[in-house]
């Protein structure tokens, strides 16, 4: 994965893009406990928010935002109304807007492209390419 240029305003950028206040999070962990894909993540969702609170850029290197499928389970349950799906999207956008794609479309076979539902392809490209 290519590196992202760092500056020290990660939290601000993510908050602006996501419209979320990361300080609303009181680290209860309910998001992580319910996330269907958290087993595959190297940082649990609540750790990502904590990282943002701490301005810790290493959260941008975790796979969490790419694993997140925007299923909104966390959003539905977060006691403090933090929409983590938006936070994850904002983090992805920080990459993608630098034209750093996360998947290589050319690796998909024509056969795969034909079989996969269109919504899967479009969604995936929109989430993972700039």
């Amino acid at each position: 994965m290519k590196q992202l240029a760092r500056s020290d305003t990660l939290r601000e950028k993510v908050e602006e893009l996501s419209g979320q206040n990361v300080f609303a999070c009181y680290q209860c962990g309910m998001c992580s406990a319910g996330c269907p894909l958290s087993e595959e993540m190297d940082l649990l969702p609540h750790q990502v928010v904590r990282g943002l609170q701490l301005e810790d850029w290493t959260v941008m290197e975790s796979n969490t935002m790419w694993i997140c499928a925007s299923c909104l389970t966390c959003e539905a349950r977060c006691p403090h109304g933090v929409d983590l799906a938006c936070v994850m999207e904002a983090m992805r956008q920080l990459y993608l807007r630098k034209s750093l794609d996360h998947i290589a479309i050319d690796k998909l076979t024509t056969e795969e492209i034909a079989r996969l539902p269109q919504i899967a392809l479009v969604a995936s490209f929109r989430k993972k390419t700039g």
């Binding site: 499928a69 938006c86 994850m88 999207e89 539902p117 899967a120 479009v122 969604a123």
Partner: protein, 294 residues
């Protein structure tokens, strides 16, 4: 206008034809035919979650304009993913004059969108306008003795303001199943995500999730599972093909669109149904699994 404006979306024209075929047949039978929007386009599939990304909503707004052109106050959607996207966009722009003006200004070739079209899922029409009793009355092949699990996935119930039912304990699909004479199976994973578009490059992850969903439904006694999303349908079925290879004990269960189940019960065109299942559902001779009594 007799009938109701309808947005199909890309998948229903390609990989999920059965969903559309059965829905059209069912709605014809129920007397509210689906009238396809003219010149509709892809809704964009996912609602853009960033706050500054108004332009990403244009694709959806164009479709709302198509409904407006038909002078329809609403548009009905089948694919729950498209439903979610269109509904969220409609909530965002219908309520917010500023966004609406911006978007209208951007689409200079279009008629202005007035911000009034309501997005409905077909299940809402069935539940709130037609009513399950009405559906029941039209059943000619009751699906007696079949246990059907209701799988909602994410986009039908989340987020709360878009969901067509309670976020945690929805019942609309179970009500539908019961109206067809079948036994509705609720199971703990009915609103758990199947992994969604991760099928494109994280197949492993989707297979994993799907396995948990399918096995949970089977443990709860399901013989058939229904969904409202082409992607859920695909993911679950894909997973089953692979599971059948990997786990010798694994018995697959049919995954149908909810409209196919209604179509079977109403005796109208249901699209492709696994032969054995079709026969047994309609002929009511489906072999019962032991778990059903649990």
């Amino acid at each position: 206008m007799k009938g109701i404006a309808y947005f199909p979306g890309c998948s229903l024209k390609e990989t999920a034809k059965d969903f559309e075929i059965s829905a059209i047949a069912v709605m014809d039978a129920l007397g509210i035919p689906l009238i396809e929007l003219k010149r509709w386009n892809c809704c964009g599939t996912v609602f853009s979650l960033t706050s500054d990304d108004l332009m990403h909503h244009i694709a959806s707004v164009r479709n709302l304009i198509r409904a407006q052109e038909m002078e329809s106050p609403e548009v009905v959607v089948l694919c729950s993913m498209c439903f979610n996207t269109l509904k969220r966009v409609s909530l965002r722009v219908n309520r917010d004059e500023e966004s609406l003006t911006k978007i209208n200004a951007f689409m200079n070739k279009e008629l202005d969108y007035a911000g009034e079209v309501e997005v409905k899922h077909l299940l809402e029409i069935l539940r709130d306008r037609i009513g399950w009793e009405q559906v029941s009355e039209k059943v000619i092949h009751p699906l007696d003795g079949v246990s059907i699990a209701a799988y909602y996935g994410c986009t039908l119930v989340r987020p709360h303001e878009v969901g067509i039912d309670d976020t945690e304990t929805p019942t609309v699909l179970q009500e539908m199943i019961e109206s067809l004479g079948a036994t509705a199976v609720s199971f703990p994973f009915q609103t758990e995500c199947c992994g969604s578009y991760q099928i494109v490059d994280r197949r492993d992850l989707v297979i994993n999730r799907s396995y948990r969903i399918l096995s949970s439904a089977q443990r709860a006694g399901a013989q058939v599972l229904i969904t409202a999303c082409p992607l859920c349908q695909y993911n679950l079925d894909e997973a089953q093909t692979e599971l059948a290879e990997r786990l010798p004990d694994y018995t697959s269960i049919p995954v149908l669109y909810f409209t196919q189940a209604i179509a079977l019960a109403l005796g109208v065109e249901a699209g492709t149904i696994p032969d054995l299942l079709a026969e047994s559902l309609v002929g009511q001779e489906i072999p019962k699994k032991e778990e059903t009594t649990r």
